[in-house]
């Protein structure tokens, strides 16, 4: 298996250096890396660092061997794509939300919005097709989380960085979502997932995973 994403000696300090997050790890093709740790351990921060939404104080990140500085940030974020725990919906309908990334200049012509694929994912995740015309602001937390995941899948990332993707879902919908993720991994052998999850049930549904424990250290700086 070849390495998709690797991060070495990532360090990020908080509260003027009183605490710091330190992490190294990697994820290979077809793999799920579960990021675990107590609340406030910096799990979400690590995902954001890997998505280049937060800059680490030190450390290196490689995507298929390329150092992160060598890759355009917009391309990096689409390919190594972060989905926050609290789904962000923009003004407008669900359809408009799903189309948002395709209106961005960095998308250019390489990828077009695929409504069929969107509808297929909606069905798999238990969302009614009529929802496309619904105002996104009226969705429940669980519905928003699934729409945000579909939006992420439609831009065809290679690595998904998922922050508690099942947190707002009931058991039945959690299973649907995990099935979609497993299927997504299988569709293309280059893909990988890094996932923060507190839920033991999540892990049961995943056929292949490794665990990375993360914790916050007392500052030596």
């Amino acid at each position: 298996m070849s390495r998709v994403l690797e991060f070495q000696d990532i360090r990020k300090s908080f509260d003027q250096g009183a605490h710091y997050l330190s992490a190294s790890g990697y994820v290979d093709q077809g793999e799920v890396l579960l990021i675990r740790g107590p609340s406030g351990a910096g799990k979400s921060t690590l995902l954001k660092i890997l998505a280049r939404l937060i800059r680490p104080d030190q450390g290196m990140i490689y995507w298929e061997g390329q150092p992160y500085r060598a890759v355009d940030p917009a391309l990096w974020r689409r390919k190594i794509h972060y989905v926050p725990q609290k789904a962000v919906m923009f003004e407008g309908t669900v359809l408009s939300n799903l189309q948002t990334p395709f209106r961005l200049s960095s998308m250019s012509d390489e990828l077009r919005f695929d409504q069929e694929a969107a509808l297929k994912y909606m069905e798999l995740l238990g969302l009614h097709p009529d929802m496309l015309e619904q105002q996104a602001g009226t969705l429940s937390g669980g519905e928003s989380a699934r729409v945000a995941l579909i939006r992420a899948l439609l831009i065809q990332p290679q690595v998904l960085l998922l922050d508690e993707p099942t947190a707002s879902l009931d058991d039945e919908r959690r299973d649907l979502l995990l099935q979609v993720l497993v299927q997504w991994l299988k569709e293309d052998d280059k893909r990988a997932i890094l996932m923060v999850s507190h839920n033991a049930e999540d892990i049961k549904s995943l056929p292949f995973y490794r665990v990375l424990e993360v914790s916050m250290h007392k500052g030596a700086e």
Partner: protein, 264 residues
């Protein structure tokens, strides 16, 4: 131009103290505790205006560009300091970008007004340039302070949306453009509104001054019109510049939001 204004003699000026007494009576009657400030304010206003009166007399008499330009730059600096003082949400002091925006917008618009529209003799007349640039600066200062304040409020209120857009592959400008537009609009709105009501609700100070100085109202109106649209243009350019100069500073070289924005 043959103006016939009524001068105020020293005795008449002294009589204006009656007005200070009236103000003081209000404060004393209502126990507002403003007497000391009123007294200090009156003295300061008198001294400041007297000094500026002498300074302007001197500057108008010399009327050289090497004096006029530094004075205009000093005025722009003072205005930018005041504008940046009013913006409390900025992660770093916006003094430099305020100065650049105010100076650029004021000089572009001011020079058009002086050189093309008013055309005094000589073209760089301090008597024309200093009041015109002063009016532009005073208004642009309010405009850019409003625009900057609004820009940071919008960013703070929509930080998750901006982050999400970045995650979806947006460029920094694409991620914040809606908020930048709102900021420029917010800076320009008071000026546009004042265009709507001028002459209906109040007579502007400059026009009133010219009428008191003996100018016929129709001429004073022409000046006032030029001043109003000049202010609108300067505010628009100033707000646009300050937003364009500030937005880059919101992002790291990695095109992510700077961390200071998360902490405020």
């Amino acid at each position: 131009m043959d103006y016939s204004y009524i001068p105020i003699s020293n005795l008449q000026l002294l009589l204006s103290i009656i007005l200070v007494l009236l103000t003081g009576l209000v404060s004393a009657f209502m126990q507002l505790g403003l007497l000391k400030s009123l007294l200090w304010g009156t003295i300061r206003a008198f001294l400041q205006l007297t000094i500026i009166g002498y300074a302007l007399t001197f500057i108008f008499a010399v009327n050289k560009l090497y004096i006029i330009i530094p004075i205009l730059l000093l005025m722009a600096f003072v205005a930018s300091r005041e504008a940046s003082r009013r913006v409390d949400k900025a992660p770093e002091s916006p003094l430099l970008i305020s100065f650049l925006s105010l100076t650029a917008s004021t000089f572009v618009v001011g020079l058009i007004v002086v050189m093309l529209i008013i055309t005094p003799e000589p073209l760089y007349s301090a008597r024309v340039m200093i009041p015109i640039f002063g009016m532009i600066l005073g208004n642009s200062m309010n405009g850019i302070a409003l625009a900057l304040d609004r820009m940071y409020s919008e960013i703070h209120a929509h930080i998750e949306e901006i982050e999400e857009l970045l995650a979806l592959g947006a460029s920094p400008w694409e991620a914040v453009q809606d908020y930048m537009k709102a900021a420029v609009k917010s800076g320009m709105t008071p000026t546009i509104n004042s265009l709507m009501v001028v002459g209906l609700v109040s007579l502007p100070g400059m026009m009133t001054g010219q009428i008191l100085a003996g100018m016929d109202p129709q001429n004073a109106v022409r000046y006032q019109f030029v001043v109003m649209i000049m202010i609108a243009a300067a505010v628009a350019i100033g707000c646009l510049l300050i937003v364009l100069l500030s937005y880059r500073k919101l992002f790291t070289e990695d095109q992510a939001l700077i961390e200071a924005l998360y902490q405020k």
